[in-house]
Amino acid sequence: MAKVTIDLQEGFLHDKAIIYMDNKAVATIVDVTTRNQIGLAERVQFELQNSEAELKIELPNRNISQKQMIQAPSDIFIGVSLSGSKLSLNIQKREFWYA
């Protein structure tokens, strides 16, 4: 089973975030705020049962949500940033680096 690491990165300020995998909520974080000095708010990790799944990130208080199919034959890392009313997802095979 592949491990998925989701980093909620830039643009969050006291947001509630719900993360779904194949329509099942895997994480709910009630106060997501970016630490601007590293550009990271929260990190969530979970294991994927299948190598492919639908990821959905929802910010219910802002009425924003973003879906994306992800394929994870091995561990993957997903960076999620908020700009205006849009969530952007950046998927890569190595851990995100912060300083």
């Binding site: 830039e10 601007n36 000095q37 550009g39 990190r43 851990e95 995100f96 680096w97 912060y98 300083a99």
Partner: protein
Amino acid sequence: MASQPKQLSKEQDVEAGRVTGENIDLITQALSWPFVKQASGLYEWKMTRKTHSFITDDPMPYSAQHQPRDAGDEVNGREMEEEEIDLDTDEETASTLLPILFKREELRLDVDGRYPQMTASGSMYSGMALSMHWIASLKSTGKNTWSGDIWYKSGTATFPYTKLKIKATTNFFSSQRKAVVVFYGGGGRARKVVYRFRSAYFHPVEFEFDSVEGAPIATSIDTQAHPNHPAILPGETLTIENVFRRAGFDVRKTAGDQVIPNESGPDALWSDMEMHDAMQIYWSRYADTAQWSMWVLFASLHEMGQGLGGIMFDDIGPNHRQGTAIFGDSFIANPPAGDPAPNAWINRMRFWTACHEMGHAFNLAHSWQKELGVPWITLINENEARSFMNYPYSVAGGETAFFSDFEYRFSDSELLFMRHAPESFVQMGNADWFDHHGFKQANSMGSPTFRLEIRVNRERPVFEFMEPVMLEMKLTNLSPEFQLVAAEVLNPNHDMTVILKKKGSPARQWAPYARKCTAPSRQIVDSGKSIYNSMLVSAGLNGWDIAEPGEYTIQAAIRIDDQDVVSNPLTIRVAPSRGYDEEAVAQDFFSDDVGRVIAFNGSRFLAGANDTLQEITERLPEKRVACHARLVLANPSSRKYKLLNISKGKRFETINRDMDQAKNMLNNALFQDPQKSAETLGHILYKKSVDKYSKTLFDEGEFEAAAQRQEDMLSVLQSRGVLDSVLKQVETTRTNYIERKATSATT
């Protein structure tokens, strides 16, 4: 850590102005002559007995500086023309009381040396307090002479100038160096100041480096140790101290270089709390105060693991940005496979991380974050910047591309901020992290046509808990001709931008409950004249922007033709609650409905909000919020009201005025303690409310009462120094009511 070459430390002493005459010979053997002839640096003016006596001899009356200019003014009253400005003498120009108030002034001239920003900035102090800070862009106009426009001002003091000229006198002996500055423009009389050289650096700063036992450190780098570097990069042993000296800081190391025991716990991973504790224990300069001093810890790993190379961990408590940490065994110790010089790669990444985290302590954001936050602290994002504040692995082409043209420096916009922003924004322990991390230049003209001021009509800008914040806006025509502006230019529900910022929180844009769309019309503003309006900024579509006790800064901007007119930043304070009753009522008071009732001056429909406001008048009758509550509760009763009744088949129901109820409330709100009412409502809303009330009385045939209300208002506004033109309006209205009374008595 590499030791300092002896020559280099002597250069620093000269550069910092610490060299006296007897040491010159030793120094000149090591230095090239042009090195010491730069004009850039810190200069200072201090009030002396001579200066003070010169100023008191000045025949100009205080008020002349601040009165609008009329056509045909005498020479002393007009703006100095450029050709009249004489920079070649040390004779200072006293221009009213300004120099008396500013007992010390600093000038930072940034025109040569390392990474010149062609900028001058100044700070003016009245006693220990900063009264004014300004920043100007410069162009060379001759040898050691520059001129430019002042594009940034912040402070409470009057500083009308919009332009300046500077002439610097350079000399090998620092005591002979000076800068003569003439400030002019903006409708004020020109002012000349002679500043004396103090230092080749703009600010002092102290660094203290400690390391955890066994952790790698990197306080210096051989710039050419790794083959991937810019071709023009000089080969040298570059220290962290020199990086920041080149950024304009007089860097000194405080007692440090300690190796501290690993107190991160059995897992040898550091948490932010553990680092904060270590800072308080081991940093020799630790204090709960703002100071140009920081602590840097070299450790192995953070509890976050390999993915965190370093962090400015100090974002808690009242004094942020005093401590940073570098985790030398994180990803920054893992060179890519096949790298030609892995050890040099690692040292370079550790060195970069150290300067990067220390940059955060100077309140620098990441290169890609400049546009985050709020308008006046925004810069343009610099996603590809070759700056310490950018991630080398995030640019196009990755680290290889980054280091191929990275010169171990900060970007120009970052240097501008570090050198010239108000000290409190940059200094460690002062402004909170990410608060004022940059600023944006409004599209304002060198010689503005208008000046926008926001202010409160009270001696100190302090508001009671729950007291709605009413501001007064004043737009003044600074040009010599009349100007046409939109009739709604000062209507906050129109096209105005208002930014509010609570200390310690991000700024937010105030959004009014309603925006008005009006047919375009214009009004004339004569030369030197002003128009006024008021606005309630406590609440809007974003909720209650001003609620909790604390300090708030407010700034407004309007657009007139192609010019942004930005107001002064106004700082107010909200006092804490005084007891249980206030706390109990506050929970219902700070609701959207109550905000709307106050913003719209009353409502018959929002019954819950009205109940809360009624409770305030009963439980807190002496508080200023009760005055606002009585006013908005009374307003619907004082007029015929149309209410859409959904339950009755969507029909408008007309509710007649209830003057007895309205009179009782309005008399209490406006006249029980008229000084308090005028102060909390603001003069403009107070006058509007009394005018409306007395008009209602007049319509009801109560002419004497209507005239009396105007008389009472006249007395209050006179005592509060309101403009004569306004007082005349009140007198005229009162007279009209009296005459009408007399007329009706005879018919």
